[in-house]
Amino acid sequence: MLVFVVLLVGTHVGLTGIRDARPPEARLGFYPPAPVIKALTADHYQFTSQLISLQCLFYFGTLVELRSQVPDWWRIYRAVYTSTRLDPYNMDAYYFAQAVLTWETGMTQQAIELLEYGFAHRTWDWYLPFYISFDYAFFLKDYEKAGMYLAKAAELKPEVAWYATLAARYFYEGGSTALALAYLKEMIPAARNEAIRKRLVTRAEAFEKVLQIEQAVAEYKERYQTNPEDLGRLVRAGLLERIPHDPYGGRFYLDEQGRVRTTSKLVPVEKTHGSHKN
């Protein structure tokens, strides 16, 4: 008995070590095309779809929190894609695509395609056109399409006056930071996963700081009819109490056009990013 217990514990510990050290692609696993999975899982394809999106979440959460390995973004995208093709109503997959693929990997176009596919099925869901609208406005600067999708969101959710009124102004006046902040504040309360919620909160904090500086820059321009040379000038002019701290660990500065930038580029500075960033 003792021999078997020792054998079991010893191999289990060893096996866990080996499996933990596997490359990212092996940890997420390989998923065959959706039609193959559908044929093999009979009427369990919805649950399988949800398992795949949860697998992506666990994979993302574990690796990002541990910061030990670089997530394989392309593989994550393929898994989310498969998940949505298995169950086009799976909102977890769309939420994950929006929360992770756009900000973390720059796969905005792919995320939009997934969300548009979802909206073709979840025709009642105002979140999807809202996300698509944001992606077009903020990442792709396509305000026409952004406006179109926001109008659809407003149609489905008329009680949110924000969509119908302020959004149009944000889009056309180019106030994308304020838009991003408003968007993130919609996303955070709905985020039930801690890893994703933390990410969104940090990003919102960063955008609050950027907005604070942008407002000081605008006031400086109005007062002195010129761009400030650096952020120190804003502090000396009494428009900022001090230079805000970038929650990502970077340093805020003004570029040649007077736009607020950060050395972190809004990603944690101590972390290396994935090879599929595009």
């Binding site: 039609p35 559908k38 044929a39 093999l40 009979a42 009427d43 369990h44 919805q46 649950f47 949800q50 949860l54 979440l57 169950d87 109503y89 799976n90 909102m91 977890d92 939420y95 994950f96 929360a99 979840r122 009642w124 869901d125 979140y127 709905a190 985020a191 039930r192 996963n193 994703i196």
Partner: protein, 270 residues
């Protein structure tokens, strides 16, 4: 066919199910389902109730299938093994009465199993709905209609297993064939759609296309019975489609049972 004899065989089959502690096992599975549903659902980012429903329906479907295969497989095999069928054949009772009586008993046991699991599942979903209200109200009507059609899938799978049992000489063959039919019946419609596309015709050719079409018309189309999207996401149900599906199920079950009684009547016992 005498009702009294039919009822007697049905009662024997139900008692067999109870004796095998099938319903007791189902209650245990139901309790596990009740306890694990909130845990599984808590992993969801945006659709707790949808994940809980999907999980519950998958468990009910899987447990129902295992139970169906298990009971349907031993329904005749046990009597054949214990040679009770020889005694029955020597009595002035038709084999069709024996087979249909057994099937009715099987149908009652499966109905009880699906009902027990459905009740446990509904309890878990009811609580979760109050804790995590969804954007759209949960379609309770759709949930019970979905379970009803799930039950009919199991009846048809059971009848097919019994049909295979009437001709097979081993227990494993009906089981393997039934699993194949079950899987194929959920994908035959999708395959047929693909075959009809220009890409499908180009890739598969006319012969494979014809075969796919034939398989679609022979196997039961379980995709029509699958109302999970409507239940989980509250997509509207089509009353006409439901009625046609129900009539189709009755027709298909009738044909399979008729074939089973014919083959069983011709079977020689040595």
């Amino acid at each position: 066919m005498k009702t009294k004899e039919l009822t007697a065989f049905m009662t024997v089959a139900i008692k067999g199910g109870i004796r095998d502690r099938v319903l007791a096992a189902i209650v245990v599975v139901g309790l596990i389902l009740l306890l694990t549903t909130p845990v599984v659902a808590s992993f969801s980012m945006r659709q707790v109730l949808a994940l809980a429903t999907s999980y519950s329906l998958s468990i009910i479907s899987l447990m129902g299938l295992l139970l169906t295969l298990f009971i349907a497989m031993i329904l005749l095999a046990k009597d054949l093994e214990q040679r009770q069928v020889y005694t029955i054949c020597s009595l002035p009772i038709s084999r069709a009465t024996y087979l249909l009586g057994k099937f009715l008993g099987f149908a009652v046991v499966i109905f009880l199993a699906v009902s027990i699991l459905g009740c446990f599942s509904a309890g878990a979903l009811f609580v979760l709905e109050r804790i995590h209200p969804a954007e759209r109200a949960f379609a309770w009507g759709g949930f019970f209609i979905g379970l009803w059609f799930q039950y009919w899938v199991l009846l048809i799978v059971g009848a097919i297993t019994i049909l295979f049992s009437t001709v097979a000489t081993s227990n494993f063959l009906p089981l393997a064939l039934s699993v194949g039919v079950y899987l194929g019946s959920y994908s035959s419609e999708a395959v047929r759609y693909f075959i009809r596309t220009s890409a499908g015709q180009k890739e598969l050719g006319a012969a494979v296309g014809l075969f796919g079409d034939l398989v679609y018309w022979i196997l039961p189309n379980f995709s029509a019975f699958d109302l999970k999207a409507q239940i989980i996401y509250g997509v509207a149900l089509n009353a006409r489609e439901l009625l046609l599906t129900q009539l189709y199920a009755v027709g298909y079950l009738g044909v399979v049972l008729l074939l089973a009684t014919l083959t069983f009547a011709r079977r020689e016992f040595r």
